[in-house]
């Protein structure tokens, strides 16, 4: 196993030693093993959204059971069922899902629902968010620290026009897409590390339109447009084997990289560490 099979979880350690965690998929369980060396732990978990593969590891995140740990969790308010982030998360620890209730956790747990564009200061780092395009409200997070920056899309599908050329609303929709894409490009502009949902190839995407996930090609386009220095493909399609991911990476490098390309890209893998 070279790329790993855990679901989304990314740790960002700032220059002054703050622990920021993006998403709490099953990858947060192995992460906990290394964090246990830092007790008492203080960390901030930013959730892009609350689909299973991004929160599933939370009940198994050992630090939540240890007194004196301070764990802050941030995420979007659920506008459809009108529930805040605490309410959404405590459901997954109800009796039929998990033996320990949220109220029984030993760590100091704090929850905050975020609004779009809200900026939080975590030590010397600033974390802010923008709404991406997924099947539920999904925040992409930008982390800035001492002039260095990381952006994680969470789950994201490039916007596409739901109308056909000639339809009444085609042009209006096109204009709205350009407007949103400009906001997004400004938000991500010049980022050092871009971690992006690239679940599909263009060919696979044809039958998965509207599912809320990205493609390799569109992530490369995004990286070019925003002037990202490095792009990491993530949210690998579960059916793709390690060998196929290797092959895909070679193939993409041949297609897109040459002496004038100003950025690099690679497949993200479990345990991969990047120093910015």
């Amino acid at each position: 196993m070279r790329y790993g099979g855990n679901t989304t979880c990314i740790e960002v350690e700032t220059d002054d030693g703050q622990t920021i965690i993006l998403d709490a998929g099953t990858g947060i369980h192995p992460l906990a093993q290394s964090l246990l060396k830092k007790l008492p732990l203080s960390c901030s978990i930013f959730l892009t959204h609350t689909h299973w593969d991004h929160i599933q590891g939370l009940p198994f995140f050992i630090p939540i059971f240890i007194p004196l740990n301070n764990i802050r969790i941030y995420g979007a308010f659920d506008p459809v069922l009108q529930r805040d982030i605490r309410d959404v998360l405590s459901r997954q620890m109800e009796y039929c899902y998990f033996p320990i209730r949220e109220a029984e956790l030993k760590a100091d747990m704090q929850y905050s629902s975020l609004t779009e564009g809200q900026t939080l200061e975590i030590g010397s780092a600033k974390v802010t968010n923008i709404v991406m395009n997924h099947t539920v409200i999904n925040f992409g997070y930008r982390i800035e620290c001492n002039g260095k920056s990381v952006f994680f899309t969470g789950d994201n599908e490039a916007l596409y026009n739901i109308y056909q050329p000639g339809d009444d609303y085609y042009e209006e929709y096109e204009r709205l897409i350009v407007q949103k894409n400009t906001l997004l490009a400004d938000f991500i502009s010049g980022v050092d590390v871009l971690i992006a949902d690239s679940a599909y190839t263009e060919q696979e995407y044809q039958s998965k339109k509207g599912w809320g996930h990205g493609t390799y090609d569109k992530c490369i386009t995004m990286a070019k447009e925003v002037g990202a220095k490095a792009l990491y493909f993530t949210h690998h399609e579960p059916q793709r084997s390690d060998d196929e991911l290797d092959k895909m990476q070679d193939h993409l490098r041949k297609r897109f990289l040459n002496s004038t390309t100003a950025f690099s890209f690679c497949m993200a893998s479990e345990g991969l560490e990047i120093v910015v």
Binding site: F77, T115, E116, E172, L183
Partner: protein
């Protein structure tokens, strides 16, 4: 005040339906439609492969639905950094699936009229309707109703007292008299309505339900929620029980002061009396506050 349930008057003495049909259906006809758009939204949101364009089109053709969705999307709860100015804008910004789910929850609750007839507290009525809907849903889940049928239980709770809106809207003066009569004589509101209109809200409500082409089992809930037939459906009993619990907890007010005992089917099924059922419900008022955003009128 807890009273044993009374047989509804219409059970013992059939009112002159011809008489009622002369005046009241005319009022029912004037009530806002349970619009085609609501049917279409329900239809489109039940189909995983439905075309996003079709949903946008339905919403755009129903100004009330459209305004409600835009209001929600621009509310502080959502907390978006941009003002959303059209349904297409909302689809671009928050995605078709979120718009679809908002449309579904908004469309159904959107059938509540905003009328504020003299002397009838619409806010109290909406709260009573909504709390009854929420409690009906909880009782249905506790009774083992399958998830795919749960929504109908919610809807039947939401609509059970709609006949009162017809009275309040078209005959506010007389309806006020009925409210006062029920209070002064300590009788059920439906008894007072019978005295004044020779019809009660359950009959008018079911006529309205028929006009809206609601499924028959929902119409039955509008008609029978004060009856005691053992042959009635679980849905009728769940609405009836939720109605009493809502009154007991004073979650809103719909003009009825008498709290009846719960249908035995519900207490038997749940193995609990009213106090025990209430204790098991959790925090209804918090759930209500969150849902009120859907039905509040500016």
């Amino acid at each position: 005040m807890v009273n044993h349930r009374h047989k509804r008057l219409s059970k013992t003495k059939e009112p002159d339906m011809d008489e009622i049909r002369k005046d009241l259906p005319a009022m029912v006809e004037k009530m806002p439609a349970f619009s085609q758009s609501v049917h279409r939204v329900i239809q489109l949101t039940s189909d995983i492969n439905s075309d996003p364009k079709a949903l946008v089109e339905v919403i755009q053709h129903d100004p009330i639905l459209m305004m409600r969705i835009l209001k929600l999307v621009n509310s502080p709860y959502f907390g978006l950094a941009q003002k959303i100015s059209s349904i297409n804008h909302a689809v671009v910004y928050i995605g078709i699936n979120t718009v679809k789910n908002l449309a579904l929850s908004t469309a159904v609750i959107g059938v509540l009229p905003s009328t504020n007839a003299a002397g009838f507290d619409m806010d109290g009525f909406l709260r009573h309707s909504l709390s009854t809907a929420i409690i009906t849903r909880i009782l249905a889940r506790k009774s083992g109703v399958q998830e795919r049928d749960i929504f109908d239980f919610f809807l039947s709770g939401l609509l059970h007292d709609f006949g009162k809106i017809v009275f309040a809207h078209f005959l506010p003066h007389e309806f006020k008299k009925a409210l006062t009569l029920a209070k002064d004589e300590g009788i059920h509101l439906y008894e007072a309505e019978q005295k004044i209109f020779t019809a009660d809200h359950t009959q008018i409500g079911s006529l309205l339900g028929e006009k809206w082409n609601l499924p028959l089992h929902l119409v039955a809930c509008l008609r029978e929620h004060h009856s005691h037939d053992q042959e009635g459906s679980l849905m009728i009993d769940a609405v009836s029980a939720a109605n009493q619990i809502s009154k007991e907890l004073k979650l809103g007010y719909s003009g009825e002061n008498i709290i009846e005992i719960l249908p035995t089917r519900i207490t038997d099924l749940l193995g609990a009396d009213m106090a025990a059922i209430i204790a098991s419900l959790g925090d209804i008022s918090a759930e209500m506050e969150k849902a009120m955003i859907f039905i509040k009128h500016d």
